[in-house]
């Protein structure tokens, strides 16, 4: 596979994945861009792996999890774009607010936990593959997902009761 073929086939999916991770289209774009630049510069190594797509997803996830001062995150934050939330139809305003509470709670989770949730409930990957992407044991994946869900449930109860 060439880099061009890979980008044709997978760029859209990677962008969607990055949106779920970051919750923001601009940050998602920066995350994907930075990762794909490295992918293209090191394409031979990427292509040698068994499943290039999984390899790239791991790169992107690591980049997201390792989000640190001084890396791409600073540029993103300094740009200071308002966080344009999803515009919901006006007649559903209240229910939309309720529903999107869950989206804002997601943002408060540790990044690794959020990534685990996205991989299971958005990408629908089996736990073994999630563990491979995150570079940890299957047990760790399960425990971080259940911790994340517990956090979300607690928020849910607090708001709804």
């Amino acid at each position: 596979m060439t880099y061009e073929e890979f980008a044709d086939a997978r760029l859209g999916a990677l962008l969607r994945y990055a949106v779920m991770l970051t919750g923001d289209p601009h940050q998602a774009q920066d995350l994907v861009q930075e990762t794909m630049v490295r992918v293209q510069l090191n394409w031979r190594r990427v292509a040698r792996s068994d499943v290039p797509e999984r390899y790239v997803r791991r790169m992107l996830t690591n980049q997201f999890v390792d989000w640190r001062r001084g890396s791409w995150a600073r540029r993103v934050l300094l740009r200071g774009d308002p966080d344009d939330a999803v515009a919901e139809p006006a007649d559903h305003a209240q229910s939309a607010v309720d529903r999107d509470q869950i989206w804002s709670w997601l943002a408060r989770l540790p990044r690794r936990q959020r990534a685990a949730l996205v991989l299971r409930y958005y990408e629908d990957l089996p736990d073994a593959e999630i563990a491979d992407v995150l570079g940890c044991a299957v047990g760790t994946v399960r425990s971080s997902i259940s911790r994340a869900l517990a956090t979300l449930r607690a928020e849910h109860v607090e708001v709804c009761s």
Binding site: L11, G12, P25, Q33, D100, Y121, L149
Partner: protein, 350 residues
């Protein structure tokens, strides 16, 4: 169920996904830019590595005169008059690169021996816009933020020129990555520490006394300043000791006299270094340096005092610095050193 709500929330936000076209174009553009930069740096790097190896290698300490007949045979017009070379060691953190080791190498007109003048990185200098003062090591970071080490070098060179009043004829920039590679490539560097050092980064312990460091250890040591008696100043002394050990190692292995070894070293270092030789052709520079390095060089520090009240940095010592700088500018350092033997940094070498 919370799981179903999660799935729904993810599905609902799919429409936030940016279109692929512009992202694809931005990626390609950025790749082109980086490839071009890589190539440029690699070209500059070859020349630079030669200077760096020659300077670091030849200049810092020469335990015995260089073998006749290698570098001296380079056909080149040899420049007369004194020369000043600037070596910068880079503390390379992703977004902010600062020149943390700043070494001015003075080659006197009589080519008697080399003088290594270490300039504290916390020296207070006017900022480029002239409105306030900042630390010398910060002059590198802003121009170099785009990845152009040459721009950072030029800014620091200008600040050093302003500070000392001497013209800089050539110089080189070495990153930690280059230092690590260089150290491993020559098979480790021996050096002697006057006091033990403990790494705050890796908790590695460096005992007092003589030892051999591999690349990772050398870089670790060069980063340490907390807990040293004179902090930054002691680190700068350790950098000088490292350079001395590197030289000895390189000479003992005959790297500089063996074109095959030398070119392999330069190839492996290539992308990690940057050089500027100004008006002086590189071979001429090398031959001058090689000749002058035959005698034991002298290590000095720019006389400074700590300016605690204003900005917590160093400023030239008002009583000792003017005389030193006059001597440096007038190429009379030999006389100055004879009159001020206490200013010479002990190398801590056997």
């Amino acid at each position: 169920m919370i799981e179903d709500e999660l799935r729904a929330a993810f599905a609902r936000h799919e429409k936030l996904t940016p279109p692929t076209g512009p992202v694809r174009a931005a990626i390609d553009q950025s790749v082109t830019r980086r490839r071009r930069r890589r190539r440029r740096v690699r070209l500059a790097g070859t020349a630079l590595a030669m200077v760096a190896v020659a300077l670091v290698g030849f200049t810092v300490v020469a335990p015995r005169p260089p073998e006749p007949g290698h570098l001296a045979t380079l056909p080149a017009p040899v420049p007369g008059g004194p020369l000043n070379l600037l070596l910068l060691g880079l503390d390379q953190v992703d977004a902010s690169r600062r020149a943390d080791t700043i070494l001015l190498v003075h080659v006197p007109a009589d080519r008697d021996r080399l003088y290594l003048v270490s300039i504290p990185r916390d020296m207070l200098v006017p900022t480029p816009d002239g409105t306030s003062t900042g630390k010398l090591n910060a002059t590198f970071s802003e121009p170099a933020a785009s990845g152009d080490l040459g721009a950072g070098y030029r800014a620091t060179r200008q600040a050093v020129t302003r500070l000392t009043g001497v013209r800089i004829d050539a110089g080189a920039v070495l990153t930690y990555a280059a230092t690590r590679k260089l150290t491993d490539e020559v098979g480790g560097v021996p050096l002697c520490l006057p006091a033990p050092v403990r790494s705050v980064h890796t908790h590695r312990r460096f005992p007092a006394g003589c030892q051999r460091l591999d690349g990772a250890q050398a870089v670790d040591l060069l980063r340490q300043r907390y807990g040293l008696r004179d902090a930054v100043l002691d680190r700068e002394r350790n950098a000088t000791r490292y350079a001395a050990g590197l030289l000895r190692q390189v000479r003992e292995r005959g790297t500089l006299t063996d074109p095959v070894q030398l070119s392999r070293l330069i190839t492996s270092l290539g992308p990690a270094v940057t050089v500027d030789t100004g008006d002086t052709p590189l071979p001429a520079l090398l031959s001058v340096v090689a000749r002058t390095a035959a005698a034991e060089p002298i290590a000095l520090g720019l006389p400074v005092r700590y300016e605690e009240w204003t900005e917590r940095g160093f400023e030239p010592d008002p009583t000792r610095a003017p005389g030193f700088l006059d001597a440096l500018r007038a190429d009379r350092l030999a006389g100055w050193v004879a009159a001020h033997p206490e200013e010479v940094t002990p190398m801590g070498q056997r």
